[in-house]
């Protein structure tokens, strides 16, 4: 297997993992799937386009800014649209409607034509005599750092603890002073911020247009189901599996890899209806 394929599968995996973990976080605490998650990815990519490409701000600062801005949009939406509506099904439909709202809005602002973002890490690097695109390597490294940071945040911090407690037993968490409503707003912000980060680091590699959010969402949905809903570890495993299929398997068997990425979900669910790492109880 050529080494470029290996890096490529890691790139895909890291995108899916970042997307899936945001989706899982929001789901675990709010109990709804955010169908507009892909559009937050798109917003993040556009933020990078405007901040990094147009305004020329340093890539890492733009990345942080884009996560902050998009996360803030997510917080506003949770606080002023989803929470007042309350009922989960209605909230899901709101997220579906948000897909067209964001796509329409961005088309209005930025136009329908695709844009590209210059690579922040041009050129190639040689590692053990193998030449690899430094952009792809950097993407993987950034993604790994982000995933580790997320893991540490959730496992090691007070807020992370509150988040997990609120997700598992919202009532009991409230009895110990955890403000579940505030935690869910925060989590919506973090989830959307993660999607924006995924979009931001992928933007220079692919392109930016108002409709790029659809594919990553589907892949993230598949990833969380493969890994098992509600656990970050599951999202990581699901993302890696799908990344491998999307790249390594695509290299060996071509376009049938798409059928396999959908088929594997069904097969896994048949044998393990809770996903590979899902807990049977919630």
């Amino acid at each position: 297997m050529p080494p470029a394929i290996f890096i490529d599968s890691l790139v895909l995996s890291s995108m899916y993992i970042l997307m899936a973990s945001g989706l899982v976080l929001v789901f675990s605490i709010m109990g709804i799937l955010n169908f507009a998650h892909g559009q937050f990815y798109m917003l993040g990519a556009y933020a990078i386009f405007y901040l990094f490409q147009q305004a020329g701000i340093n890539f890492f600062i733009s990345l942080a800014l884009s996560a902050a801005i998009v996360g803030f949009v997510g917080i506003l939406i949770e606080r002023y649209i989803m929470r007042p509506i309350g009922q989960p099904i209605q909230a899901v439909v709101v997220t579906i409607a948000l897909i067209s709202v964001f796509e329409g809005l961005i088309t209005l602002i930025a136009g329908p034509a695709p844009h590209s973002v210059t690579s922040a890490f041009p050129g190639n690097v040689d590692i053990f005599g193998v030449s690899l695109s430094s952009e792809r390597l950097a993407t993987v490294v950034i993604a790994v750092i982000l995933i580790i940071a997320l893991y540490l945040f959730i496992q090691r911090t007070r807020l992370g603890l509150a988040l997990r407690a609120a997700a598992q037993q919202p009532v009991a968490a409230g009895l110990f002073g955890i403000q579940v409503a505030r935690v869910s707003t925060l989590v919506m912000g973090i989830g959307c911020g993660l999607a924006a980060l995924a979009g931001g680091i992928m933007a220079p590699m692919f392109y930016v247009d108002p409709w790029i959010g659809g594919q990553p969402l589907v892949m993230a949905l598949l990833a969380i189901v493969i890994g098992g809903m509600g656990s970050l570890g599951g999202a990581v495993v699901g993302g890696i599996v799908l990344g491998m299929i999307g790249s390594m398997l695509a290299y060996y068997i071509g376009f049938w890899s798409q059928l396999i990425s959908f088929g594997i979900v069904i097969v896994i669910l048949l044998f393990r209806p809770q996903g590979l790492f899902g807990q049977s109880e919630k």
Partner: protein
């Protein structure tokens, strides 16, 4: 006659009036464009009814459009390859869709909640990939052409190619039949069971209800109705091909159900489907590029003000009228 009795019968009278209205409507308003929108709205009514039926048994199917595709392809193949008449092709479309749903259902309905949703999403995508690549049966992207049916009833010959009116009456009939069926089911013991399954799956299982059985029944019935809708739609368009059945349609069905009102099994989906398809088409034609934005905002606003859907209006509207009169009564007070 006392008022109470009249009041109790009011919904029935209104319903009958509505049905009569739908029947004479195209005879009065001879707008072919409106007629075509209404026919498509009828197809979407069936689709939304099926979706709502599955949804009310506690499962959220993201791949419901695949049953539209199965019904559509089966109907087209039965009509063009086997040469079956119109009615039989419709039935065949529905049956094949039901069979597929039954076989899949006994396997995938075991999965709970979101796992089921995403499994159906994957199945829907797989169905489209199959339709695109199984050339010998589906002819890939080329699709299958279906000739407009010519129905002979005694001396009367109806050629569907020359007028679209028969399609309208057939879809109205189909929607009424499906609505009655789902309404009866909702009212029956089965319906009560189904709702309890949706509300508290674990508890009803403990109460001795075989959860799977009812889910499979509802899933299969819904697929039957959806399949008939698919076959009908293919006849109406006179062609079937993969782009007709994109997975996004399943989320559209959800939007329809929620806008119409989730807590009524029949009127909610029907109202939602008619509203969404009518205004959706109107927006597509008059708004062009602005359509997605306006559509999304409208859906959110509607849900914001009427989280229980448009059927809520029947309670809200009288209250609103009353409040209007009350305000009028207050007007003289104001200057004093």
């Amino acid at each position: 006659m006392d008022k109470a009795k009249l009041k109790a019968k009011l919904p029935l009278i209104l319903l009958l009036a509505f049905i009569i209205f739908t029947i004479i409507f195209p005879l009065i308003v001879k707008d072919r464009f409106l007629l075509s929108i209404l026919i498509e709205a009828g197809v979407m009514c069936l689709f939304a009814l099926g979706f709502a039926a599955v949804f009310r048994s506690g499962q959220f199917s993201l791949g419901q459009a695949a049953f539209l595709a199965v019904g559509g392809y089966a109907g087209a193949l039965l009509a063009s390859k086997a040469g079956l008449p119109f009615w039989l092709s419709l039935l065949g479309g529905g049956l094949s869709s039901a069979i597929v749903a039954f076989l899949l259902g006994i396997v995938i309905l075991r999965m709970g909640g979101l796992y089921f949703s995403i499994a159906t999403l994957a199945l829907g995508e797989i169905a489209i990939i199959i339709a695109k690549n199984w050339d010998s049966v589906t002819s890939g992207m080329t699709g299958i052409a279906v000739d407009a049916p010519i129905v002979k009833i005694g001396e009367l010959t109806i050629n569907f190619a020359t007028t679209k009116l028969p399609y309208y009456y057939i879809i109205v009939l189909l929607v009424i039949m499906a609505a009655l069926m789902f309404w009866r089911i909702d009212r029956s013991r089965l319906g009560t069971v189904v709702r309890s399954v949706a509300v508290a799956p674990v508890m009803s299982e403990h109460a001795g209800i075989h959860l799977m059985k009812y889910r499979v029944i509802m899933f299969t019935l819904a697929a039957f109705v959806t399949g008939v809708a698919g076959a009908f739609y293919v006849y109406y368009l006179s062609w079937v091909g993969p782009p007709l059945f994109s997975g996004a349609q399943s989320t559209v069905a959800l939007i329809m159900c929620v806008i119409g009102g989730l807590w009524s099994a029949v009127s909610g989906p029907i109202i939602g489907a008619i509203i969404v398809s009518y205004f959706g088409t109107m927006m597509q034609i008059h708004l062009e590029g602005l359509r997605p934005l306006v559509f999304g905002v409208l859906v959110i606003v509607l849900i914001w003000f009427m989280p229980n859907g448009l059927v809520e209006l029947q309670y809200r509207f009288p209250a609103w009228v009353k409040s209007l009169f009350k305000k009028k009564g207050k007007v003289p007070d104001a200057p004093a």
